[in-house]
């Protein structure tokens, strides 16, 4: 009986191994010779559909889907439909790494798009590099991501470290009597926020603005109220908040309102760029007015590609241009850039795509895209946006298309 079971098991295992080998041969011949031109091009991505980054992850998914719909409506890529294979990483770097390994080794995707946040981009780009995939992403702009010097990494968005520069230049340009004297720098322990905060602190200190609060708080949800109360107690005239999400900015706003503390300038690295979700969370327009955020895109952008995308987005999801999360544009740009590289190289050879991306200037809803050796978008322009009476407007740098900065920030709730 035991011998019979062992023989049965051996036959079963042999059959399974043979089937797997045949499936692998079939898969590799299809991808290498391109004998199935009408099969869809499968693009894999891991996104944070749940967990701490879920708002951004969901917005990214909308951006990817919107782009795929547009491409398919226009006949697809290389005459083939585009199909997205999106997996949920629950905002966990380890799960994101596992997802990309699955996308490559099990799902055999043709191309990869990046995840949300620098925290998840750094480890997943290594996976893509190991397997020779071009890794185009829209939310991994921290210096720690580029420090890996991976040749396959391409961030279509703004490198984040100097993102607040337009505001810092504006403050420097103010007459001495109007210029703030003190600043506070609370920041989340995150690779996206810390470089921006350190840069702002160095620049403002060099301009003679005294730092009266500078502390790092845990990345996971914590007792924000106590930290915000200390910032309020410092009476800093500028608050540069290193935040990655809406809940953090909301908690600080709520504590500032309760402490009757009104800084002249309140800028957060992320959160206020999330459209209507942000305005609702902080309690309406009165608590959003005057708050700033650095970024490279906004719903009212005059860029023709952006206007088309905004119009399509509103057609599907409704709302207003100001209510669109900037993550949508970042994700859409990833698709645009990849599509241009695929079209130009006339194939899905990732090595050729990587070479093309390193040597050409492309267009996107966020503006021009040109990569340096480590994948930073050198053509991206840093803007600072401000909420003004329920409208999200570009205020800095000053010039054509800019609205005048509201300074000092209006009192909360007014």
């Amino acid at each position: 009986m035991t011998a019979h079971r062992a023989r049965f098991l051996a036959v079963g295992i042999t059959a399974a191994v043979l089937s797997a080998a045949l499936a692998a041969c079939s898969s590799s011949s299809t991808s290498s010779t391109g004998t199935a031109p009408k099969t869809p091009i499968v693009i894999g991505a891991s996104l944070s559909l749940t967990g701490g980054f879920s708002t951004d992850g969901q917005a990214f998914m909308r951006g990817y889907k919107l782009w795929a719909n547009d491409v398919n409506k226009a006949g697809g890529l290389l005459g083939r439909k585009v199909k997205l294979d999106i997996k949920n990483d629950a905002s966990q770097p380890n799960q994101a790494v596992t997802n990309y390994q699955t996308l490559i080794n099990v799902d055999h995707v043709n191309l990869l798009f990046g995840p949300f946040s620098s925290l998840l981009t750094a480890p997943t780009a290594q996976v893509a590099h190991r397997y020779g995939f071009a890794f185009v992403e829209g939310a991994g702009g921290a210096p720690s991501v580029f420090a890996t010097k991976l040749p396959n990494l391409f961030d279509v968005s703004l490198p984040v470290d100097a993102s607040t520069l337009p505001l810092l230049n504006y403050i420097k340009s103010l007459p001495a009597g109007q210029r703030p004297k003190t600043a506070a720098f609370p920041t989340s322990n995150d690779p996206f926020t810390q470089p921006q905060i350190q840069f702002a602190q160095q620049m403002l200190s060099a301009d003679g603005i005294k730092s009266v609060y500078s502390k790092v708080f845990p990345a996971e949800p914590t007792q924000y109220k106590g930290i915000a109360d200390q910032v309020a107690a410092s009476k800093a005239q500028i608050v540069v908040l290193g935040s990655v999400d809406v809940p953090t900015v909301t908690a600080f706003t709520q504590a500032f309102v309760q402490a009757h503390y009104n800084p002249k300038v309140f800028i957060a690295t992320a959160g206020p760029d999330q459209g209507s979700a942000y305005v609702k969370a902080v309690g309406g327009q009165g608590n959003a007015d005057g708050v700033m955020v650095p970024n490279a895109w906004y719903g009212g952008s005059p860029n023709a590609l952006s206007q088309k995308m905004v119009s399509e987005y509103i057609g599907i999801y409704h709302g207003t241009p100001s209510g669109i999360n900037a993550d949508v544009a970042e994700a859409y740009s990833v698709g645009e850039v990849m599509a241009q590289a695929v079209a130009a190289t006339k194939g899905l050879d990732n090595a050729k795509i990587v070479a093309y991306l390193h040597s050409h200037t492309m267009t996107s809803v966020q503006g021009p895209v040109r990569f340096d050796a480590v994948g930073q978008n050198l053509a991206a322009t840093a803007f600072v946006f401000q909420w003004q009476k329920a409208n999200f407007v570009q205020v800095l740098p000053p010039g054509a298309g800019s609205t005048t900065v509201v300074y000092p920030k209006p009192v909360w709730g007014k």
């Binding site: 930290i227 909301t250 609702k280």
Partner: protein, 291 residues
């Protein structure tokens, strides 16, 4: 001194809010010997109920408790009747963990389907108003949370020690078989107790939703904190949960003054140190039941 005083005030008021969220968890454990790890998502569910009533019916969240408390009570009774009641034998405690986890996942999925992942908060004009006491600004919502915590915990105590039903609960807690022999409907007591434990969460969820933005994922962060509070206070001790919550949040707030990155570490370090000295928590099970 000003910052220290503000940290202590924040710790006491914020701790009361956590106690309000943890009270149901410790009550259910005390009576049923079940660790309801779905408590975090139930707090979030209660927050969403208050949010929905506020947004769609323009109902004041405090008045909304008149609706959300009964809803949560009925939900608790249904969960106990449908899932927990069926668990018997030596594997009951382990199985109850799995069942409660499954319930949490189902509720989380339903909340994602209904509300999406965008964080929301409960907004009412007076929630952001404050009272100025001894140089500190104390938010009304935190004072309301403190008041609700004291009232809820006092009500549970009165129910347990001044009512016939409370005697039934305590008898069931001490020996379910003996309680059944003297005519107590143990299944009914268990169902109602579970219902009360979940109903208290309605108040905790409302205050949580008014002091934080939340989405369906928020339950995971909550449950680890709530479990540490009830373990520190002594599993099954309602008053212990209140003291432990205030103690831990105050410790966290004080550490925030110097080094916020250490605050969470200190929060859990306090738990470990206390458990080394008192393995049953500050008000361990035996002591709590003897009160």
């Amino acid at each position: 001194m000003g910052q220290f005083g503000q940290a202590v005030a924040n710790g006491i008021l914020g701790g009361a809010v956590y106690a309000l969220m943890a009270a149901g968890l410790t009550l259910i454990f005390g009576v049923l010997d079940i660790i309801n790890i779905a408590q975090g998502i139930m707090v979030v569910l209660a927050a969403y109920l208050s949010y929905a009533l506020s947004v769609h019916l323009h109902l004041d969240p405090l008045l909304g408790l008149l609706i959300t408390v009964p809803i949560m009570f009925v939900l608790g009774v249904i969960i106990q009747w449908a899932f927990i009641r069926r668990l018997r034998g030596r594997e009951r405690t382990a199985m109850s963990l799995l069942v409660c986890y499954a319930i949490a996942v189902i509720i989380e999925g339903a909340l994602y389907a209904q509300f999406g992942s965008t964080p929301v908060g409960i907004q009412t004009s007076y929630f952001n108003t404050t009272v100025h006491v001894f140089g500190f600004y104390l938010g009304y919502i935190y004072l309301i949370g403190f008041g609700l915590a004291v009232v809820a915990i006092a009500a549970i105590y009165l129910m347990l020690y001044r009512t016939k039903f409370g005697r039934s609960i305590r008898a069931t807690t001490q020996d379910a078989v003996a309680a059944r022999l003297i005519g107590i409907n143990v299944d009914r007591v268990a169902a109602i107790t579970f219902g009360i434990g979940v109903a208290v969460t309605a108040a905790g969820g409302m205050v949580f939703g008014a002091t934080n933005t939340f989405n369906p994922d928020s339950g995971y962060d909550l449950i680890s904190r709530l479990l540490s509070i009830v373990i520190l206070g002594g599993l099954g001790s309602i008053g212990g949960a209140l003291v432990a919550a205030m103690f831990m949040v105050t410790a966290e707030e004080i550490v925030n003054i110097w080094q916020p990155t250490w605050a969470t570490v200190v929060y859990y370090a306090v738990l470990v140190i206390v458990l080394l000295v008192r393995p049953t928590g500050l008000f361990g099970k035996q002591e709590a039941r003897a009160q």
